[in-house]
């Protein structure tokens, strides 16, 4: 059994990764609640944004700032475009069909990424990764601080937005009952477009952070969405707070298992294991909490 000292550095990486998982999870839950679409292409969009930024920096020799901005905006633009094109025609269908349709987008993006960027390994290092400080002998770089801080900020802003703004109230109304909300004169499409755009911007930002924290690889980044999905599942696709905490916990557990040799190589199973436990608990008391959107 490794000593407590061995775990220290992994607390930092765990919190940073967990922050991004939580960030993506919150982005997905907000979109799901407003539009009924669980965006399974979330990771693919972020991955492509990050690869695009890499291309702009290393091939077109852009400055880093604008390239990172393009990454985030790309996430927003692609997601918004998908939402405007395919949201309305599928709006009356089952949530499962809507989620399956986003896999179409994921495949298109995966195909493009494999065509353009599959020739060699790439890496993305944010300028904030080169600087940092020490907390009890553990080096913490600013990217890790930003990951957690940004996630916290986004969650807080989102919660406040949903609570206090007109669009936010409309989103919550849509989550409750789409038909009635439309009857009341809420501009459904515009509110949904806002949700798509917001969620898309978050996907771009998470893609950028993950490309630094984990690695710049299309398939890896695309399927990192699994960790965030586990967080949303634990949050029952509704609760932003639970999703956030679950994301952090998944990241932490995943990282903290690393020094334990016997199970270290199985640590990436964490999302699956935690989600399965959550499912067992949920299905034990079904009916009460799941009668709403998820059904």
């Amino acid at each position: 059994m490794p000593s407590l000292e061995d775990f220290k550095p992994f607390v930092v990486t765990g919190l940073a990764l967990g922050g991004v998982y939580a960030l993506s999870g919150v982005g997905m839950v907000v979109l799901y609640r407003a539009t009924g679409v669980l965006n399974l292409a979330f990771g693919a969009v972020g991955a492509m944004g990050a690869l695009l930024a890499w291309q702009l920096i290393n091939v077109n020799s852009w400055a880093q700032g604008p390239a990172f901005l393009v990454c985030v905006l790309f996430g927003g633009a692609v997601t918004l475009l998908y939402g405007v094109l395919f949201g309305p025609p599928l709006s009356g269908r089952d949530p499962l069909v809507k989620a399956t349709a986003t896999l179409g987008l994921a495949l298109i993006l995966l195909g493009i990424m494999d065509l353009v960027w599959s020739d060699k390994a790439r890496s993305m290092i944010l300028p904030t990764s080169n600087h940092g400080f020490e907390v009890s002998d553990v080096f913490v770089n600013w990217t890790e601080v930003i990951a957690l801080g940004f996630a916290l900020a986004v969650m807080t802003v989102t919660a406040l937005f949903l609570r206090f703004t007109k669009t936010g109230t409309a989103m919550r109304a849509l989550a409750n009952d789409r038909e009635i909300t439309a009857t009341l004169g809420v501009p459904v499409r515009r509110v949904e477009a806002a949700a798509w755009l917001g969620s898309g911007l978050v996907s771009g930002a998470s893609g950028l952070l993950l490309s630094n924290l984990v690695g710049l690889d299309a398939a890896t980044l695309t399927f990192l969405v699994i960790s965030s999905l586990a967080a949303t599942l634990i949050g029952r696709l509704r609760s932003i707070t639970v999703t956030f905490i679950a994301g952090i916990v998944i990241g932490l557990v995943n990282a903290l298992v690393t020094p334990i040799v016997s199970i270290s190589q199985y640590r990436d199973m964490t999302p699956f294991v935690l989600a399965t436990i959550a499912l067992l608990v949920l299905s034990g008391r079904r009916g009460s909490a799941l009668a709403g959107r998820a059904g």
Binding site: L38, L40, F86, P89, L90, R93, D94, P95, L96, V97, A99, T100, A101, L103, G104, L105, A106, L107, I108, L109, L110, G111, I112, D114, L115, S118, A219, T222, F223, I226, L229, A230, T232, L233, L237, Q265, Y266, D268, M269, P271, F272, V273, A275, T276, L279, L280, L282, S283, R286, L290, A294, G295
Partner: protein
């Protein structure tokens, strides 16, 4: 699995329905087609295409399982290829550990995969379809992690049966009657035909009717006395069983297994081709198998990167879900009929519309 035993019992109770003329023709067409594929096709193909068509047959079985799950009960699994990898692992382990006859190993890997799939599926099935999709996607990720760590058996000892060194001579064996590639293609096609028959029996009998009721309306099915969770479970178990058998065939086909054969994205690709092939007809599974294994081989032959296909499949998913939920199996004959009408209209002779083998 008690479900499998109950299936045959129930199937026996259902009287064989009288075939009408149309069905008799269709049955005859199927038999002729099958005879062609088993007897003639392997003779016509060169070495490379024999292995390609063996893969087509194997992936058709996997597609059949997912097609039944999606088309009959409206459930989605995003981890079928990972389940296939798991089944291949189980089959390889059984092949190396025992001297059991080939069909018994296929059955064994089918049943073990069924149990493993059921364990994962059950809690999600009691919730909603979205939860099953999510948990199977996570399962896909988890299986990939485990297999990357344990690797596939290659004749070693112990539970994992993996040797780091000396992996040259331990091939997963094939059935004695089908050790060559051509013979193994025939063998695979016959097993696939049996699997399609099992699926057909399910669809025609009591489970099929229960699935149809569930697909129309879960609450109505519940009110009519259908045990919704049981029959959803049954569909998921059947899909797992089919995938398990396919895994056994795949293990013996390639001789040695590598994790790179089963990328997580393939589970998504499988979903796409199954949707494009058509989920309401068993033929859709054959089309899906061709799309997934035959088309990439053709593109490879032409020197076109297969990534283009991924893009096409992605667009296909959106197109199918938006406009043609029945998939290519229905859409193609319909479009051909439309085209025929258009051509005859242009020619101005008022020819009757062309009829492409609408099945």
């Amino acid at each position: 699995m008690s479900a499998a035993g109950a299936t045959s019992a129930r199937a026996r109770r259902v009287r064989m329905p009288q075939l009408d003329a149309g069905e008799r023709v269709r049955a005859a067409v199927i038999v002729v087609l099958l005879l062609f594929v088993v007897l003639l096709l392997p003779q016509l193909l060169s070495g490379y295409w024999v292995t390609v068509f063996t893969s087509v047959a194997i992936y058709s079985i996997v597609a059949l399982g997912l097609g039944i799950l999606m088309g009959r009960t409206g459930l989605v699994s995003l981890g079928q290829i990972a389940l296939l990898a798991l089944a291949a692992w189980v089959a390889a382990r059984l092949f190396f550990a025992t001297g059991l006859p080939f069909p018994i190993v296929l059955l064994g890997s089918g049943l073990i995969t069924t149990v493993l799939g059921a364990l994962v599926g059950l809690p999600a099935l009691r919730l909603s379809g979205l939860y099953l999709a999510l948990i199977t996607l996570m399962l896909a990720g988890a299986i990939t992690v485990v297999l990357r760590a344990t690797n596939f058996p290659n004749g070693g000892h112990g539970f994992l049966g993996h040797l780091e060194t000396d992996r040259g001579n331990a091939n997963i064996r094939r059935p004695a009657i089908a050790s060559g590639d051509t013979a193994y293609l025939r063998y695979t096609v016959i097993v696939a035909a049996i699997m399609f028959l099992i699926a057909l029996i399910h669809v025609r009998a009591r489970p099929g009717r229960a699935w149809a009721a569930i697909r129309q309306s879960e609450s109505a099915a519940l009110a009519a006395g259908v045990n919704v969770t049981l029959y959803k479970m049954w569909a998921f178990a059947l899909a797992s069983f089919l995938t398990g058998v396919a895994g056994g065939l795949l293990a013996a086909n390639s001789g040695q297994l590598f994790i790179t054969t089963f990328p997580t994205s393939d589970s998504i690709t499988l979903l796409a081709v199954v949707l494009m092939g058509g989920i309401y007809s068993l033929w859709g599974a054959v089309v899906a198998g061709l799309l997934m294994q035959f088309l990439p081989a053709v593109l490879n032959n032409w020197g076109v990167p297969a990534d283009w296909l991924t893009i096409v499949f992605g667009a296909g998913v959106l197109q199918v879900l938006l406009t043609a939920p029945q998939g290519l199996v229905y859409q193609f004959p319909r479009d051909m009929a439309k085209l025929g009408r258009l051509i005859s209209g242009l020619a101005g002779r008022g020819r009757p519309p062309r009829r492409e083998g609408a099945s």
